[in-house]
C-alpha cells in the first residue's frame, strides 16, 4: 500500500522542486507566480496520468526466475522468532526429540518423553532401548493425563506399561499438552529413583510447550488452509484434460509432427509449472505463461472454435498474484462457457494494475453459454459475489442474488475444509460432463470458484473481491481484484 503512493507523492514533490528550481532559482528573471503554478500543475498532471499508464512496467529483461517464491506475510516472522523452541514448528517426531533433549537437564529428570495422543514421539534417557519412539503409548500414567487433561504421577514401574522386568525407570510425572482446550499429547518426565519429578514444574513446562504448539497451530492453520487448497488445485489438473491433450498430440503427430512436438513441450511446461510452484504468490508474467500454455493446448484441441484474446497492461507483468488462480478461471470459461457451444467463442483475459489503489484486477470473460440464475445464486457468498449481468439485461433478476460482500473471516477456516473436499472430488465430478452431458450451464461450475475464493480469503482476508456476472447464452464475466504486491 505504502510504496506505490509514496513513490507518486515523492515524484510530485520532486516535480515541484524541479519546477521551482528551473523557474525561480537558476533563471533570471523568475517566471511569474501564476505561470509557474500552471506549469507545476501541468507537469503534476502529466506525472499522475503517466503513473498508471503504459509508460511504466518492467525494465529488466531477465525473465521468469522460477525459483521458490519466498512466502510473504507475518506468519513467517512469528515462526522465525520462535525458532529456539523446536516445538514452535508443530508437534512432530523430530521436533519432539529435540525438545526432549533440551528439557531433560532443565527438568532434572532421568528420561523425558513426549507423546501425541497415541504414540510416543520421542523418548530420551535410560530405558530408551525398549521405550522407543513410534511405539503406542501404553503407560497408564500418560494415558491418564491424556484422557483427563490433567497431570498424573506414578511411583511404580508397572504404571509405565513397558512390561520389561529390568526397566531402570521407577516413577513418572505426565502432564498433558493442550491446544485450544484439546489434548494433543503429553510431556512425561521419568526418574530412575523412587522420588518423581516435581509436579508443578512439569506442569509449567507442559504449559509453555502447549503455548508454543498453539502458536504453531495458528500459523500453520493459515498456511495449511492455503496450501491445502493449492494442493487441491494442483490435483485438480484434470485427467481428462491430459487425456484430451495427448489425444490431440497423437493425432497431430501424423499430420503435423512439428506442431505435435511443440505441443508436447507445452504440455511438459504446463505440468512443470503446476508442480514446481512452491509459494503462494508469483509474478503475473509467470501465471500468464501458465495460462497461455494451457490455452495453447486447448486451442490445439478445439481448433477455430476457441478464440483467445489477451489484453495485458505492461505494469501488471511484474505484479504478484496468487499462484494457480487465473488458469482455473480461464479453464472454467473454456470448459463451462465454450465447450458446449457449437460454434465456439472467445475467451478474453484482461489484466490491469491500478498503482494508486494498489489493486491488480484480472477479468476473464467469455461469450459462451453463461450460467443459470440458480447456479449464480448458489455461488453468491461472503467473498464471492455472483449475479446476473446487469449491463445488458434488466437488472431486476440479478439484484436479488446480491449479498453484501463484507468480510466474514471467522467462517473462512471452517469453510476451508469443505473446499478441500470439494476440490478433491472435482475431477471425478467433472468427468461426466466434460463432453457436455447436458447442453445447459454446468451445475458444478461454482466449486472451483468457491475454492479459489476461499484460498484468497486465507491469503488476503477480506482485501480482495471475486465477482461473477453471467447471462445465459451471452456469456460470463469473472472479475478478480487482489491487492497489488
Amino acid at each position: 500500500m505504502r510504496s506505490g503512493s509514496a513513490l507518486l507523492a515523492g515524484g510530485i514533490a520532486v516535480v515541484w522542486g524541479v519546477v521551482y528550481l528551473v523557474t525561480q532559482v537558476v533563471v533570471d528573471p523568475p517566471l511569474g507566480v501564476g505561470t509557474t503554478v500552471v506549469a507545476g500543475v501541468a507537469v503534476t498532471l502529466a506525472v499522475v496520468l503517466g503513473y498508471p499508464s503504459a509508460l511504466r512496467g518492467p525494465r529488466s529483461a531477465t525473465v521468469l526466475r522460477r525459483g521458490p517464491e519466498p512466502r510473504r506475510g507475518g506468519a513467517r516472522g512469528l515462526v522465525a522468532g520462535g525458532r529456539a523452541m523446536p516445538l514452535r514448528s508443530g508437534l512432530t517426531a523430530d521436533a519432539a526429540r529435540r525438545t526432549a533433549d533440551l528439557l531433560r537437564p532443565l527438568l532434572r529428570g532421568d528420561a523425558v518423553a513426549i507423546t501425541d495422543t497415541e504414540r510416543i514421539l520421542a523418548f530420551v534417557g535410560p530405558g530408551d532401548d525398549h521405550h522407543r519412539a513410534g511405539r503406542p503409548v501404553r503407560a497408564s500414567v500418560t494415558l491418564k493425563a491424556i484422557t483427563t487433561g490433567r497431570s498424573a504421577t506414578s511411583r511404580s514401574t508397572a504404571d509405565l506399561g513397558c512390561g520389561e522386568p529390568d526397566c531402570p525407570l521407577a516413577g513418572a510425572v505426565a502432564a498433558p499438552l493442550v491446544v485450544e482446550n484439546r489434548v494433543v499429547g503429553a510431556l512425561v518426565v521419568l526418574r530412575t529413583g523412587p522420588e518423581p519429578a516435581e509436579r508443578g514444574q512439569v506442569e509449567d513446562m507442559a504449559g509453555i510447550l502447549s503455548l508454543h504448539l498453539e502458536l504453531a497451530e495458528a500459523d500453520r492453520e493459515r498456511e495449511l488452509a492455503a496450501d491445502a487448497r493449492l494442493h487441491a488445485l494442483r490435483a485438480q489438473i484434470n485427467p481428462h484434460f491430459l487425456f484430451n491433450v495427448l489425444n490431440t498430440i497423437a493425432s497431430k503427430s501424423r499430420t503435423d509432427p512439428e506442431e505435435a512436438r511443440a505441443l508436447l513441450l507445452r504440455l511438459s511446461d504446463f505440468f512443470r509449472y503446476a508442480v514446481r510452484q512452491d509459494g503462494q504468490l508469483a509474478e503475473f508474467a509467470q501465471e500468464y505463461f501458465f495460462v497461455r500454455t494451457y490455452l495453447t493446448l486447448e486451442q490445439a484441441r478445439f481448433g477455430d472454435r476457441l478464440r483467445v484474446r489477451y489484453d495485458i497492461d505492461p505494469q501488471v507483468l511484474t505484479a504478484h498474484v496468487p499462484v494457480l488462480t487465473i488458469q482455473p478461471l480461464v479453464e472454467n470459461a473454456v470448459k463451462h462457457g465454450l465447450a458446449d457451444k457449437v460454434d465456439g467463442g472467445t475467451v478474453t483475459l484482461r489484466a490491469r494494475v491500478d498503482p494508486l489503489t494498489r489493486t491488480t484486477s484480472i477479468r476473464v470473460s467469455d461469450d459462451g453459454v453463461g450460467m443459470s440464475p440458480e447456479v449464480l445464486e448458489e455461488l453468491d457468498g461472503p467473498h464471492l459475489t455472483a449475479s446476473q449481468d446487469g449491463g445488458r439485461r434488466a437488472r431486476a433478476a440479478g439484484a436479488a442474488g446480491h449479498a453484501p460482500a463484507d468480510g466474514n473471516d471467522a467462517t473462512a477456516d471452517e469453510a476451508g475444509d469443505e473446499a478441500v473436499d470439494d476440490a478433491v472430488d472435482r475431477p471425478s465430478e467433472g468427468a461426466g460432463t466434460v463432453r457436455g452431458g447436458r447442453g445447459g450451464p454446468h451445475p458444478h461450475t461454482g466449486v472451483g470458484l468457491r475454492n479459489i475464493s476461499q484460498r484468497l480469503t486465507a491469503l488476503f482476508g477480506s482485501r480482495f473481491s471475486l465477482d461473477v456476472r453471467s447471462t445465459p447464452d451471452e456469456g460470463t464475466v469473472i472479475d478478480l481484484r487482489v491487492p497489488l504486491r
Binding site: 528551473v22 537558476v26 533563471v27 533570471d28 528573471p29 523568475p30 517566471l31 511569474g32 505561470t35 502529466a46 503517466g50 499508464s53 503504459a54 509508460l55 512496467g57 518492467p58 525494465r59 529488466s60 529483461a61 531477465t62 525473465v63 521468469l64 526466475r65 522460477r66 512439428e258 512436438r261 511443440a262 508436447l264 513441450l265 507445452r266 511438459s268 511446461d269 512443470r272 508474467a285 500468464y288 505463461f289 497461455r292 500454455t293 490455452l295 495453447t296 486451442q299 478464440r307 483467445v308 484474446r309 489477451y310 489484453d311 495485458i312 497492461d313 505492461p314 507483468l317
Partner: protein
Amino acid sequence: MDDDALRLDVDEHDTPAEVDAAFRTLRRVAVWHFVLFLAAVLGVPALSLTLGWWSGARIDGGMSPGFAMAAFGLYVFFLAVGLAAATLSSAVEARMLGGAHEEAGDDDGEDAP
C-alpha cells in the same frame, strides 16, 4: 532430461494469440511514449511562441530556457525516452512471449559448475 533433448529439436514457436497480445501491449507502450515525445518536441517551440519568459529569461546570465532546451535538454530527453521505451518493450516481450527455455538455460547454468 529427454525433455531438453526434445526442446533442442523443436524450433521456437509463438501462437497467434500470444503474438497478438504482445503486439497490442507493445503498441500501447509505443503510443504512450510517442505522445510523451511529441508533447516535448512540439512543446518547446510552442512555449517559445507563447511564453515570453521562455526565450526572454536568462539562465546563468546567458542562454534562455528555450535555447538551452533546444541546444541540449531535448537530446537528453530523447535518449531517456528511447532508453525507457526500448527496455520496457524488450522486457514486455521477454515476459509475454516464449518463456519455457529460459528455465532450461538456468538448469544448464546450475549443472555447469
